[in-house]
């Protein structure tokens, strides 16, 4: 019935059918649901939704309505959706963007329109440093964090001749820079590959020839799957250990890589086995609701929702005073599934960072196991550039 009503309304104005549930606080989620990276957005959304469902359609006791749309990983599409959320739906809180390039196209404009944006994943350095903004909060990390923790771990473990691989695009260079910030040894080689590259045979042969003592790679999504499978087929994993940030080792991706990832140590701010009450409840509920183990993206979506809940509760669902909402968010008065969590001066997390190892669990499933906490209360390198 609702559907046919909306179809009717489409004839005149495309969106006329949407003005329902007037009182609920609307939260706009621009995320990536299609393309090869669609599962990342799906997990952010599902984690976020779980928090809403746990409260029966509310966050912090305030009724909310979550609007989700797919940016198809295209910056201009993301921008179009954000505009619709702001202009048509009057959204004041936004979240959800997966990729830094989409974020850089969408977020600055959104912030200028007096909308609060809470990042549940992408956190490019510009938004942490000179372009930081009172309306912008990163609930996930700063992009380089997960590389920094690996850099420290690799140094501590005594490796001193590492080979670096990343795609040839700005994020690739940022991630390697993050690693190098804490890695103290020599660099055997540094290779930038084509974005979206499928075959790494040529790079692997060159890598073998330079005889490094370890490899650090940042190859998100399918590129990472390809790399790990081919690395293991070349039997390089038997002699040269691989390290990387968590982006190539989330639970759903590990299921696709299989045994080829076993033993790899990777950096993350969260793992499903972290021992705190909020996390245990989250992981149990997520598994019950969706039938799979949550990824770090899901944990970030969930934490974002819980943070919003704490702020909504504090202002009693009243978003008219933006300053009050910002102040409430800044307190980070919620139980993060990561344990200790607070915001630094640039409104990016100050949190513990871990390395974890890919292992086989009792049921024979390939999964992550927390190995050790490397940083306690770690911030980011750009906070000093932020004048807020």
């Amino acid at each position: 019935m609702k559907r046919s009503f909306a179809v009717l309304a489409l004839g005149i104005g495309l969106l006329a059918g949407q003005a329902m549930a007037a009182d609920a606080v609307k939260i706009g989620m621009v995320t990536t649901l299609s393309t090869k990276a669609g599962y990342l957005g799906e997990d952010i959304r599902d984690g976020f939704k779980l928090a809403i469902d746990e409260e029966g359609g509310k966050l912090g006791g305030v009724a909310v309505e979550l609007l989700v749309d797919d940016d198809g990983r295209k910056p201009d599409k993301g921008k179009q959706i954000a505009e619709r959320f702001m202009k048509s739906d009057g959204v004041k809180l936004m979240t959800g963007i997966v990729f830094s390039n989409v974020a850089m196209a969408v977020v600055p404009k959104v912030l200028r329109e007096d909308v609060i944006y809470l990042s549940a994943n992408a956190a490019p350095s510009q938004l942490a440093g000179k372009n930081c903004h009172p309306n912008y909060f990163s609930v996930s990390y700063q992009n380089d964090n997960l590389d920094e923790v690996v850099g420290q771990y690799v140094t501590d473990a005594g490796y001193n001749n590492v080979y670096l691989i990343a795609p040839n695009y700005p994020a690739g260079k940022d991630h390697l820079a993050g690693f190098k910030r804490y890695y103290k040894g020599a660099i055997a080689g540094e290779v930038y590959t084509k974005l979206g590259q499928a075959d790494y045979a040529a790079e692997l042969a060159a890598l073998r020839a330079t005889k490094p003592d370890s490899v650090f790679f940042f190859l998100p999504g399918g590129m990472g799957i390809n790399f790990l499978k081919q690395y293991s087929q070349a039997e390089l994993n038997k002699t040269i250990p691989v390290f990387g940030p968590a982006f190539s080792f989330d639970e759903r991706l590990l299921a696709a890589v299989g045994d080829a990832a076993l033993g790899v140590v990777n950096g993350s701010q969260w793992t499903h086995d972290l021992d705190n009450q909020a996390n245990q409840a989250f992981v149990t509920n997520f598994r019950k609701t969706y039938g799979r183990t949550p990824t770090l993206y899901a944990s970030q979506g969930y934490d974002t929702a819980r943070l919003i809940a704490s702020a909504l509760k504090s202002v009693n669902g009243d978003l008219s005073n933006l300053q009050a909402v910002r102040d409430a968010l800044k307190k980070a008065d919620f139980a993060s599934v990561r344990g200790d969590f607070k915001f630094g001066p640039n409104q990016h997390p100050i949190q513990d960072l871990y390395v974890r190892e890919v292992v086989k669990d009792a049921e024979g499933k390939v999964t992550n196991k927390t190995l050790k906490k490397v940083f306690t209360g770690h911030g980011d390198a750009y906070a000093a550039e932020c004048k807020m």
Partner: protein, 342 residues
């Protein structure tokens, strides 16, 4: 396939009916387009004004592709190269102006600018130049080979912009605001909408005059029979290249507007999937008239928007819809709306 056919006596009444229908449909569309911002304000949906600007811009790009595809028989899968080039000209000029540093200082100093009257002509010029180079090499081939060689050049440009680290590489370049123009505030969506509409109408008028000129007839003659035109003494290559360059400039115009509409440019604008999308707009709209591509752009983009409101899996519906259009409407959407001309 072609509008300008001779009409036999028997078909005269049918032709008249057809013309009335065509005029009725087109004038309704024009009135709707002119009144759209007012209607949207009344409906309290200002967002749709900005969406409509986006559609109009894609319509310009689709019309420019149709110029070479429909009239010249040159199917290009690299048209986004010129679209993206136009956008980057605006983006680079604006970012240089924002940083108060010259774009380049040798052999002469080129300063950045946020003025549309500077950026737009430059965007047209540079995309036309890009089309001249690419066309010069590509037009040696035809058919499927032409499709692929234009794609190759567009992909080269794509990777070139990906490697432009000074301008954001793959992340692209955010504009601080839209360009400036005397009398109009382009930051205002209604003003910007009318600017896009004006450009679309002007461009359609230009193309209409062009295809009905001697130049246009030669181009169509070449499409029908290249060898014959050659033996009649026409410089076939030159005509095709000129047409390709004009189309490139048209796409550059669309790109420059697009950079302003989204206040953002990135290499994604010239990826082959973008070329494919513009091509699909042209094909969906239907061949035979300049309004086909406009219709195609409107249909494809609004279907994406509407379907994605109902389902995340909108592509599973859009795909078969495209197939049905091919199988059952023979003239594309334009044929469905107005009827076949022959």
């Amino acid at each position: 396939m072609e509008a300008e056919g001779t009409v036999s006596g028997a078909g005269l009444i049918a032709m008249q009916n057809f013309l009335t229908r065509k005029i009725a449909v087109l004038s309704t569309c024009l009135i709707l387009l002119l009144a759209l911002p007012v209607i949207m304000q009344l409906l309290d949906e200002p967002y749709l004004i900005s969406l409509s600007s986006r559609i109009l811009i894609y319509a310009i790009a689709a019309v420019s592709l149709y110029l070479i595809l429909g009239y010249g028989g040159m199917v290009s899968l690299g048209h986004a190269a010129f679209f993206g080039t136009g956008a980057y000209v605006v983006g680079i000029l604006a970012s240089a102006s924002f940083d108060a540093s010259p774009v380049f200082s040798w052999p002469f100093q080129m300063d950045g600018s946020e003025r549309l009257l500077v950026a737009l002509p430059l965007a047209l010029l540079i995309s036309a130049f890009a089309a001249l180079i690419i066309g010069f090499f590509s037009l040696r081939t035809s058919g499927m080979y032409f499709i692929m060689i234009t794609l190759a050049f567009a992909q080269m440009l794509y990777y070139f912009y990906v490697s432009l680290e000074g301008y954001g590489g793959d992340d692209g370049l955010s504009l601080y605001s839209r360009s400036q123009l005397p009398l109009l505030d382009l930051g205002d969506d209604t003003h910007f909408y009318y600017l896009c509409l004006t450009f679309l109408l002007l461009f359609l008028l230009f193309c209409h005059r062009l295809v009905n000129s001697r130049f246009g007839r030669v181009i169509q003659g070449i499409r029908e029979n290249e060898k014959r035109m050659q033996s009649l003494g026409y410089a076939v290559f030159g005509y095709k290249l000129a047409c390709f360059v004009i189309a490139g400039a048209g796409a550059g115009l669309a790109g420059a507007l697009m950079a302003n509409q989204s206040e953002f440019v990135s290499p994604g604008l010239m990826h082959w999937t973008q070329s494919g999308e513009i091509l699909v707009m042209v094909l969906l709209g239907g061949m035979g008239t300049l309004f086909g591509p406009v219709l195609g752009a409107v249909a494809l983009l609004s279907m994406e928007e509407i379907l994605s409101m109902f389902t995340e899996h909108w592509m599973v519906y859009l795909g078969p819809f495209l197939i049905l259009v091919v199988l059952f409407t023979r003239g594309g959407l334009y044929g469905l709306l107005i009827g076949r001309e022959r």
